[in-house]
Amino acid sequence: MRGRTLIVGPNFSGRSRALMNLLRATSDVPASFFVGPYAEAALSGLSSVVADEIRIYQSSDVSSSKADFSPLDFTSLSDRKPQTLSGGEQVLLALHCFSRSAYQSIAIDVALEQLDGANRALALDYLGGSSRQEFDVVLTDNRLDGPLPHWSCTEQTNESATFACDLPALANHLLPQHAGPLAIHDLHFGYRNGRTILRGADLTLEPGAAHRLLGPNGAGKTTLLKILVGVLTPSSGRISLDGVCYEPARTGNRAIALATQNPDHQWCGATLREDVTRRRSTLTRRIDMPPPADERIARLGRDLGFPSLDQPLYELPLAARKRLSWLWPFSGALPWIMLDEPTIGQDRDTRRELALVVRRLCALGYGIIFVTHDDDFAAQVPHRRIAIENMTISTS
């Protein structure tokens, strides 16, 4: 492997395999640093604190040192558990560890898509933009469709028929909804380690529209989503749904279908059937709308590329699991839908069609909240901007 290589192509065309083959180009090729999608493929998994993660990779050989990559103050984060960092912060930590290591090559599989615009630009610049770096890079990234200056480009064209999804057909199978306004009033939240995320936040979200949560990595976007579904309890303030006080931490989530950034953070069963059956069991007790039947779930599953409800969830490829994570939110079971970085790992065509589905959901009366650093995707969905920064929320 030499120089800088960008591998492009649609989902399931063999990009990851091509990346691995490049890493194994010769029998005595030295090991490469690897940053894969999501934490288990970005961090070593051998450290309890950030300081130890850096220590594992720290090179003692001064002559092999590369330029330092430190977009965050890792010294202040040294006591944090790596798993508690946001997805973007974990990718930045991984790149920092690479810059401190003796590795002479790095492979990145869609991980840069988790970074906000500024950090993404910094990372691409470090990896091979204007600076002369003495290491090799292999990269797959769905938001880079063509060659970059000084990079070679390999295109994978053999798209597999497995998991072929038909989002336009799914858009025609969506059902209408009557969501009520979702509002937060004077919300305060801080983690036990003393880090305050929100202070006196006010926000009203109207249904029939899409709302984009914006903010740098680690600002608290995912934290706000967790508060709204009841995973985290605010220290003060209140949430209302359709004008009525709504306490998901006490009564359970009965309004919002969440598709998480990492799809494996949302399953509640070993198979699709088991997952949906359990979710359905929480619905019948709470709202009058009939819950989605197996036939409807099966049809949506086929539209997403999964012919069987008995599909074991954890045995699917990651990009496929990401698509399956949209099924429950699109089923019409709940009036509000949250999509946390829905386009990570998805090729350009899928992202375009997903935008079509989101527009259709808004037209049908759902309330949509989405978090994304993918400006191209966001530009295809008319939305209201909600910025989280410095513990406050502002709208535009």
């Binding site: 090991a31 220590r55 290591s101 006490r250 359990r278």
Partner: protein, 246 residues
């Protein structure tokens, strides 16, 4: 030049000697001597953080003590020695037996908590790297610690998933009890997914475990410090007395 401060190896050896002596000691005098040495260690090496360490030890032992009081003194009413001898026995003897067992357990818990408090500011990898044990043992310790963290992370992720889909509430509820099995299954599957991701992609490509071995080898401390050479002989002497005294 030999360093002054207590090393991780010295602390672990000190702790092991005290724990073994506490388990093997049968007499009150022996336990009292071990407790005095433990108190001296707390005062001189740990300082103000000893209070938190001792509070945690009490929190571990008090529930067990209450349980044993109910069973031995309240229900059985005799000590094991009296049961074995076939005598009618007394609640006072049972109480003495419970007190001795709990004192021993409190001592063991305190030693562990005090050592953890002493090295609270040392990153775990640094602590393990400094130990004077073979590299394979250090690797196993890192594995165990990291997988405990993985499991804790899996519990957190699974809990988040089940709360988000409405099966659990983040506050206590009957619903949580009814869906406890779903949480166990989800934790297991989450943990498996995490380790499969590492084993399939990250570790083989990077040869991460070799990287770990280098980091562990770099941090090794090969000599005992002055404080080690004070505490270890004291611990050995106390252990000999405690095990020998009846």
């Amino acid at each position: 030049m030999r360093q002054r401060q207590l090393t991780p190896s010295g602390a672990v050896a000190f702790g092991l000697i005290l724990i073994i002596a506490a388990m093997a000691s049968a007499g009150v005098a022996g336990l009292a001597l071990l407790a005095a040495l433990c108190a001296a260690f707390a005062f001189l090496e740990v300082g103000a953080a000893s209070a938190i360490a001792l509070k945690r030890s009490l929190a571990l032992v008090i529930p067990l003590a209450l349980f044993m009081l109910i069973v031995w003194v309240g229900i059985v009413g005799r000590s094991p020695a009296e049961i074995a001898a076939g005598t009618s026995g007394s609640r006072a003897a049972a109480l003495f037996h419970v007190a001795l067992v709990c004192a021993r357990l409190f001592l063991i818990a305190s030693v562990l908590q005090l050592i953890m408090a002493r090295f609270a500011l040392t990153p775990p990898l640094g602590f393990i790297a400094a130990l004077r044990v073979p590299l394979v043992c250090k690797r196993l310790l890192v594995f165990t610690l990291s997988l405990v963290e993985t499991f804790q992370h899996a519990i957190d992720r699974a809990h988040t998933a089940l709360v988000a889909c409405g099966l659990l509430t983040s506050r206590g509820s009957l619903r949580n009890l009814l869906h406890a099995w779903v949480l166990v299954q989800t934790v297991w599957l989450t943990a498996i997914t995490i380790v499969v991701g590492r084993l399939r992609d990250k570790w083989p490509i990077e040869n991460t475990l070799a990287q770990l071995d280098r980091a562990l080898a770099r941090g090794a401390q090969r000599t005992l410090s002055r404080h080690d050479l004070i505490w270890l002989p004291l611990a050995l002497a106390a252990a000999v007395f405690a095990i020998g005294a009846r």
